[in-house]
């Protein structure tokens, strides 16, 4: 097939290269519009509090102040990004109502003639908050008596009646009982910021025909458009989203945070409105990669074969779930690693705390599973006296193997990939390892 290909498989130069090196590429905030207003947000200074009152009087006197928006201005204020694909319940507030659940949560949006005026007015808003006890650790959040972050009485996302996404395959307990070794590990990772060099931004512009054009650096135009339409309770046909040029995203620009408020402000003022995160907002307020705590318990035979793997994972979703419930399902499908293990049990918890919400990031649900499992594999190697390569070859999944989520492996090439890596770095494999393939029918032959 390759020989027949003319263009696919060739390193043709990037079509946007000239634009990038000459500076002609237009990123979102490289655009300006006549009469454009600036939107800045008053954020919670504390991790968890009741909102007793908001005093805008001083802010309204700032020269250049145009108007303030609070939750009463937002037609459908409580939403969940993944509601579009049927995920429930709606639980995040476009603008806070009676309670804030993380430091940095938006409470009031200020629209002003200049960015400086918007910032000054933001600083002049007086909040009356009553601080509440907060919870910051995924396992503490699940203990009885922990402060409850959600509005439904516990701190986990519920998966069809279960507090976690479960995978059950074979019988791990029976396999643990007959295993020669039990190898255990606990893996902890901290939140990570996407840190794109271009911050999250959009500009909403009223169009002549009564519609709104929204220039945005979202990763997903229709995700943003549809969520904005729901939040503003307007038909999607009144919105026109334009993007496609993004200064780095890594999953951080799938959340729908700036577009609904900017569009609402454009509707209320009849003028173009720009809402761009400052660098500190990108770093401190935008979603992170979740913190994870992953417990791995493996039953291993003397020869290094893994006969049972039990994974209990807690992802810190922060105050709202955003994309994290889906990350846990993806995690559960992959948390056993690329290995053929006959008995697997996975419990993956999406836990609410008073941290800044986490969401999607490159490697969604899997990056930290790979960290845990691949360090665990070295632990196993050490426990049975194998080298790190051998334990992986011995357990590698192959085509036809049933994965724990009951899908047969089809495109497995772990073995070939490890063989190539060994050759690349000059690591000598055993003759058996060198002869292995991911297709068991061809094993040792051809």
């Amino acid at each position: 097939m390759t020989a027949d290909l003319h263009v696919v498989g060739r390193s043709v130069p990037r079509s946007d290269g000239v634009g990038h090196v000459t500076g002609r590429t237009l990123f979102t905030t490289d655009r300006s519009f006549p009469g454009m207003l600036h939107l800045k947000v008053v954020r919670s200074p504390v991790h968890h509090a009741l909102v007793r009152g908001i005093d805008l009087s001083e802010a309204e006197r700032v020269p250049g102040f145009v108007r303030a928006l609070t939750h009463v201005d937002v037609p459908h204020n409580v939403y969940t990004i993944l509601g579009l694909i049927g995920v429930e319940p709606e639980e995040e507030f476009v603008l806070a109502e009676d309670r804030v659940r993380y430091k940095g949560e938006p409470i009031v949006a200020i629209v002003a003639e200049t960015e400086a005026a918007a910032l000054e007015a933001v600083a002049c808003v007086r909040l009356d908050l009553e601080e509440l006890p907060a919870v910051f650790d995924v396992e503490e959040a699940l203990r009885p008596g922990a402060p409850i972050v959600t509005h439904w009485g516990n701190n986990t996302f519920m998966y069809e009646g279960h507090p976690c996404r479960r995978v059950r395959f074979g019988d791990v307990e029976a396999a643990f009982a007959r295993a020669d070794h039990i190898v255990e590990g606990v893996y902890n990772t901290k939140p990570i910021e996407h840190a794109p060099t271009e911050t999250t931004a959009c500009i909403a512009v009223p169009e002549a025909n009564g519609r709104y054009a929204v220039y945005t650096n979202t990763q997903a135009l229709y995700f943003s458009l549809d969520n904005t339409a729901i939040i503003l309770q307007v038909p999607g046909s009144r919105l026109h989203f334009i993007g496609g040029t993004v200064g780095g995203a890594f999953g951080g620009k799938v959340d729908v945070i700036v577009e609904p408020l900017a569009t609402l402000a454009a509707m209320k003022t009849g003028r173009p409105v720009k809402y761009a995160f400052a660098r500190w907002e990108e770093m401190q307020v935008s979603s992170t990669r979740s913190a994870w705590r992953i417990y791995v318990k493996d039953g291993v035979m003397r020869d290094g074969r893994i006969v049972a793997r039990k994974v209990t994972s807690y992802a810190d979703s922060g105050a709202y779930s955003r994309q994290t419930p889906y990350a846990l399902t993806k995690h559960a499908a992959n948390a056993a690693g690329p290995y053929a293990i006959p008995n697997v049990s996975i419990d993956a918890y999406c836990v609410y705390t008073n941290h800044v919400p986490s969401s999607a990031m490159r490697g969604f649900g899997i990056t930290m599973a790979s960290f845990a499992i691949e360090v665990q594999m070295d632990r196993i190697a050490e426990a049975v006296g194998l080298d790190p390569w051998s334990v992986r070859f011995l357990n590698a999944y192959r085509n036809g193997d049933m994965k724990p989520h009951r899908k047969r492996a089809e495109d497995a090439t772990l073995i070939e990939t490890m063989q190539a890596a060994a050759a690349f770095v000059g690591h000598e494999l055993t003759p058996e390892q060198a002869a292995m393939t991911s297709d068991p029918r061809r094993e040792g032959g051809e």
């Binding site: 390193s11 901290k190 690329p338 899908k407 772990l414």
Partner: protein
């Protein structure tokens, strides 16, 4: 006090496409009267080069040169629906949609060419260089650019195509977790070499060498770019980055690039790779998605290399110098077992 070297490995797979599927993409293609083709999408290019690889896929399927294909994205008034660029899905999903659209447009093109050449449609083929010719009849050929113009001005026809692609949504069994989450899987195996300064706890990554299996590479230079940039990000995740340095304590959050730690130009190790191609059955020309996975295997490979160098097993990210020093101290106290540390150069 010494500088200890060690190597570590990690092997991973990574699924292609939005988890559980149900994430459609559409594409429209039409020919202009000057014979170029415009592919209209609403997919976003995040910097990975989506516009370029989609143009390649369209050109390949249409049988024209890549310079004759333009990607018009992303505008919801003109571009048909697309789920978005995430989950290593864009090249796979959009590519499949574009192939479908390009096939339809190519049919329209060949029909007009058949009339113009007074040949049967079934006898026509494209040469991939912008010509349509009658199979086995040298000399009977016509330029795609000419057909594009003739279609409009002589025949009054449109040369266009529609395409959509979706993996149907899979349900999850809430009891067993049975599900069909992905379309295909790409693979990587990474070998990292590190040097650990036992005086300061500072880990220096010497090299990150990987083998990747990514299905078909549409554009090998772009694949290489993902692997190099991803290895850097993996190293950054392993050793430097966090928004919450004392997690679960929420304090001390960095607010800018001066406080949020990432390795800079000087800290970049040698990064190299080999790439295998085992085309997938359902990706465009056998593509698998690799956008996300390139940061994954470097992280455990580095952590395993630290253990190989020092005998200190670290279960936490990021691996700060403090964590390394505390590990070395604990190891001295307990004289726990493990691989014997080797000093650099031996």
């Amino acid at each position: 006090m010494a500088k200890l070297r060690g190597t570590g490995i990690a092997a991973v797979n990574y699924p292609t496409g939005m988890n559980l599927g149900g994430d459609p993409s559409q594409a429209l293609i039409h020919a202009t009267t000057s014979g170029s083709f415009v592919v209209t999408l609403s997919a976003t290019d995040l910097g990975q080069g989506l516009r370029t690889v989609i143009a390649q896929i369209a050109a390949e399927t249409l049988g024209v040169g890549v310079d004759d294909v333009f990607i018009d994205t992303a505008d919801t008034d003109t571009g048909p629906h697309d789920m978005g660029t995430f989950a290593s899905r864009a090249t796979h999903r959009v590519g499949n949609a574009v192939i479908a659209a390009a096939k339809e447009a190519r049919e329209a093109l060949l029909e007009v060419a058949a009339e113009e050449l007074e040949a049967s449609r079934d006898d026509l083929e494209t040469d991939g260089l912008g010509n349509i010719r009658v199979r086995g009849a040298p000399g009977r050929s016509v330029k795609v650019t000419d057909i594009a113009s003739l279609a409009q001005f002589t025949y009054g026809r449109t040369i266009s195509g529609r395409g959509a692609w979706m993996k149907p949504r899979s349900a999850v069994d809430p009891e067993t977790g049975a599900m069909d989450p992905d379309s295909t899987e790409a693979h990587a195996c990474t070998v990292a070499e590190v040097e650990v300064d036992t005086e300061t706890g500072v880990v220096t990554v010497i090299s990150i060498k990987s083998a990747y299996e990514v299905g078909r590479q549409v554009n090998p230079a772009l694949v290489h770019g993902q692997i190099v940039g991803g290895a850097w990000m993996g190293m950054s995740h392993a050793l430097y980055e966090t928004t919450t340095p004392y997690y679960p304590d929420p304090g001390h959050r960095p607010k800018d690039f001066s406080e949020y730690l990432m390795p800079g130009a000087h800290e970049t190790p040698e990064i190299d790779c080999v790439v295998l191609e085992y085309p997938s059955s359902n990706g465009p020309y056998g593509v698998k998605g690799i956008g996300e996975m390139t940061a994954n295997s470097p992280i455990p490979a580095i952590v395993n290399a630290i253990y190989h160098a020092t005998g200190v097993r670290i279960d936490e990210l990021p691996v700060t110098p403090e964590l390394v020093l505390r590990g070395l101290e604990a190891k001295e106290r307990h004289a726990s077992g493990g691989v014997t540390p080797s000093t650099a150069g031996d």
